[in-house]
């Protein structure tokens, strides 16, 4: 195998663009953790459920645009049910209990989605091109560029939502301090429904992009595994952290696979991502962009 700078940059750019796809999944985790302190283990399941609902509706003959709206509605309903059936009875329970509850939600969503829409592979073709493009000697895939654009739009919309809207400000208030937010009249339960809904919509976007790439199938639920090192590295509470963490993990694992992998018998990219995140954890336990936790005794 030879080394050349154009190939190095090709791998680097490919890695950065792959990282954007991880960020799409990581964003959903961040939103819920930020607003409620709950690590939502079910985010991968939500991506699968959203994509299955969308493709299921399209296969029933619903036009794609309407199917997207209906899938969004389904994610809002799911958020409402989760809040009412799981989170509300567990208010004031330790975070580990809520985390365990989200594991239960994962199994329910995985099973319910497959019962409803079947376990087959569904093709999701929204016309996103998947052709190689050349910029000089450097190859870039058109699908990855579309995914990067979608992620960019999503982050912009989320930033505007959080910074410029009343609900967004209420979400930030809840994220900063639950009790202080409640004392000024912000309804915590409504906020939880909203934040789970927003995470559901982010899951739908991730489901569309990953579903277009892999087909809509159970394995989509496993992409949460790709988001975990991104969260560890970027921080569980930072939206920019999810994006930059994704880029770093994507680029790091691809460069490692191509240039270090051959010396270690290959297939190192998965564990390399976790190792990279662990190294960051040693120096910044809250992640690169996470909020520093200071507790006084």
């Amino acid at each position: 195998m030879f080394f050349s700078w154009p190939f190095f940059f090709e791998v680097l750019i490919g890695g950065l663009l792959a990282g954007v796809m991880y960020s799409l999944v990581a964003l959903g985790f961040v939103l819920i953790f930020k607003a409620s302190g709950v690590f939502n283990f079910a985010q991968g399941g939500m991506v699968l459920f959203a994509a299955l609902t969308l493709v299921g509706l399209i296969e029933l003959g619903v036009p794609a645009a309407l199917a997207i709206l209906l899938a969004m509605a389904a994610m809002v309903v799911l958020a409402y049910v989760v809040e009412k059936a799981v989170l509300r009875p567990l208010v004031n329970q330790p975070p580990i209990i809520l985390f365990m509850a989200t594991i239960g939600i994962t199994f329910f969503i995985d099973g319910f989605g497959q019962t409803l829409w079947g376990s087959d592979v569904h093709t999701l073709d929204l016309g996103i091109p998947n052709t190689p493009l050349f910029f000089g000697d450097i190859l870039v895939n058109s699908f990855d560029l579309v995914a990067a654009a979608v992620a960019g739009i999503l982050v912009t919309v989320l930033a505007i939502f959080f910074q410029k809207t009343r609900i967004g400000r209420a979400l930030r208030a809840v994220a900063d301090d639950h009790q202080a937010a409640m004392s000024v009249g912000i309804p915590l339960r409504v906020i939880w429904v909203i934040v789970w809904s927003v995470a559901g919509l982010v899951a739908l976007v991730a489901g569309i992009m990953w579903g277009s790439k892999l087909g809509v199938q159970f394995s989509l639920a496993l992409i949460a595994l790709k988001a975990l090192p991104v969260l560890i590295l970027g921080g569980f509470t930072s939206i920019p952290g999810a994006i930059i963490g994704g880029l770093m993990i994507g680029a790091g694992e691809k460069l490692a696979e191509v240039f270090i992998g051959p010396f270690l018998a290959g297939a190192i990219e998965d564990w390399f991502a976790y190792m990279l995140a662990m190294v960051v954890l040693l120096f910044r336990p809250q992640g690169l962009f996470g909020e520093k936790i200071i507790e006084r005794v």
């Binding site: 792959a18 592979v121 093709t123 087909g215």
Partner: protein, 439 residues
């Protein structure tokens, strides 16, 4: 009597009555087939058509022929989720069911096959790993209860190399072949064969492992498509790894007509998610394509028309047909054994004899309505593979089409490899091989 007492009485009555109700069923003239399936989880898209093929063929035989020479076929599915420990649990749960216990097990996972070999051998129940599992289990003197017909992974690797060689006008000297494989025991199975063939044929073999589940392969395909630029790529993938590989290969511009997968990388579930990118992609197979065989019309007329069967949605798909062929081989092993032991429910030990004496000629295959779905096989005490042939199929965007004749793997070389590996296994496990010349 209050409600609580009534409920307790009803439960107690049910507990007492259940074995009594079950007794007449157990006493019936039935041959029990355990089915280890995965209809849920990440591999369900492959597991569903396979399981459907089995069930529909059993339904057909009961409806059309009244079972196997009058012995009704019964079956029970156990969900393994493609998980080794669940597979062992299912084995333990099902092995004693039916009047004579389980006929044979089809684990449908290389890992589960490995886990069952010693157990099933001790229990004298055949393990039929059709196109997966241990290739060296072909040697019946060492593995009396394991069957690998009609082809092993090693045979698959050889057939793919033969096909490539033919496309390259007979010579592979100086050619570069990349193997993209699932980084597991399954994915590593062909490496030794491909390395041996590389020495023999003079091609350069490059290995590219992909970590499970294979959702992300960009780095692998940049190396292959942009750095190595091989003449051919062979894939040993499974599940989502397959469609992802096809998409990534297309994304780096690697031509599909130079890309061949093994039979577990050659189902509709592997190519459909990749969409138009998969057009031209090839795979090896040992079972036929489409729904045009007589067995299909029989299933349509005698199973689906009566509101029975499970495979309407997967009818004629590659893995559905493989399920049918697998079920048919198992049934014919029972039928062969009935020739010796009588037309009655048989034990696993008796069915093992049936497998070792199975001779499915083209005439028998035609009679079974399986024309075009499989090639002839003839098993023996020492040869549990049976000399099956392999075909190369190509995806045209809508369906698989055969693009080669049935290829005979070079079994002279392969048998030497099987024997060396099996004898090593026998040595490690302290097994004294059977003397097949006395059988």
């Amino acid at each position: 009597m209050n409600l609580k007492k009534m409920l307790l009485s009803a439960v107690a009555a049910a507990v007492v009555a259940t074995p009594l109700l079950a007794m007449p069923a157990a006493a019936q003239n039935e041959q029990f087939m355990p089915l280890l399936v995965y209809r849920t989880g990440p591999y369900a898209p492959s597991g569903i058509p396979l399981a459907n093929g089995f069930v529909d063929y059993f339904e057909l035989l009961n409806a059309r022929d009244g079972g196997i020479n009058g012995v009704k076929i019964t079956w029970e599915e156990c969900e393994t989720n493609y998980n080794n420990d669940r597979g062992v649990e299912c084995y333990e749960r099902l092995k004693k069911q039916g009047p004579t216990g389980a006929t044979a097990f089809n684990p449908y996972a290389t890992g589960i096959t490995y886990a069952l070999i010693e157990r099933a051998t001790a229990d004298k129940i055949p393990v039929f790993s059709m196109g997966y599992g241990r290739a060296d289990a072909t040697i019946g003197s060492v593995f009396p209860y394991v069957f690998t017909a009609p082809a092993t992974y090693w045979a698959g690797a050889d057939a793919i190399v033969q096909h490539i060689q033919k496309q390259e006008k007979g010579s592979l000297k100086g050619k570069k072949i990349a193997l993209v494989y699932h980084d597991s025991a399954y994915g590593k199975e062909p490496i030794a064969t491909l390395e041996a063939l590389a020495k023999q044929e003079g091609y350069q073999l490059n290995l590219f492992p992909v970590a499970h589940p294979g959702l992300e392969q960009k780095a692998t395909w940049l190396q292959i498509g942009r750095q190595l630029r091989p003449d051919w790529v062979i894939m040993w993938g499974w599940g989502v790894m397959n469609s992802t590989a096809i998409k990534e290969a297309s994304a780096v511009g690697f031509p599909m007509n130079k890309f061949v997968g093994i039979w577990w990388s050659g189902s509709e579930a592997d190519v459909r998610p990749a969409g138009a990118a998969a057009k031209g992609y090839m795979s090896a197979s040992f079972t036929g394509v489409g729904a045009g065989a007589k067995v299909h019309s029989d299933i349509r007329d005698m199973v689906f028309a009566k509101g029975k069967g499970m495979g309407k949605d997967t009818f004629g798909e590659a893995l559905y047909n493989r399920g049918i062929v697998n079920a048919a081989i198992m049934i014919e092993a029972v039928r062969t054994a009935q020739g010796k032991f009588g037309n009655k429910p048989l034990t696993g030990e008796q069915v093992q004899w049936g497998f070792e004496n199975l001779n499915l000629t083209q005439e028998v295959i035609d009679k079974l309505g399986l024309t075009g779905l499989m090639s002839p096989i003839k098993l023996s005490c020492n040869d549990h593979e049976g000399g099956g042939s392999i075909v190369i199929q190509q995806w045209d965007g809508k369906q698989w089409n055969f693009i080669s004749d049935f290829i005979k793997p070079r079994r002279e070389m392969l048998t030497k490899m099987y024997e060396a590996s099996a004898m090593q296994y026998a040595k490690e496990k302290g097994i004294t091989p059977r003397d097949c010349s006395k059988m």
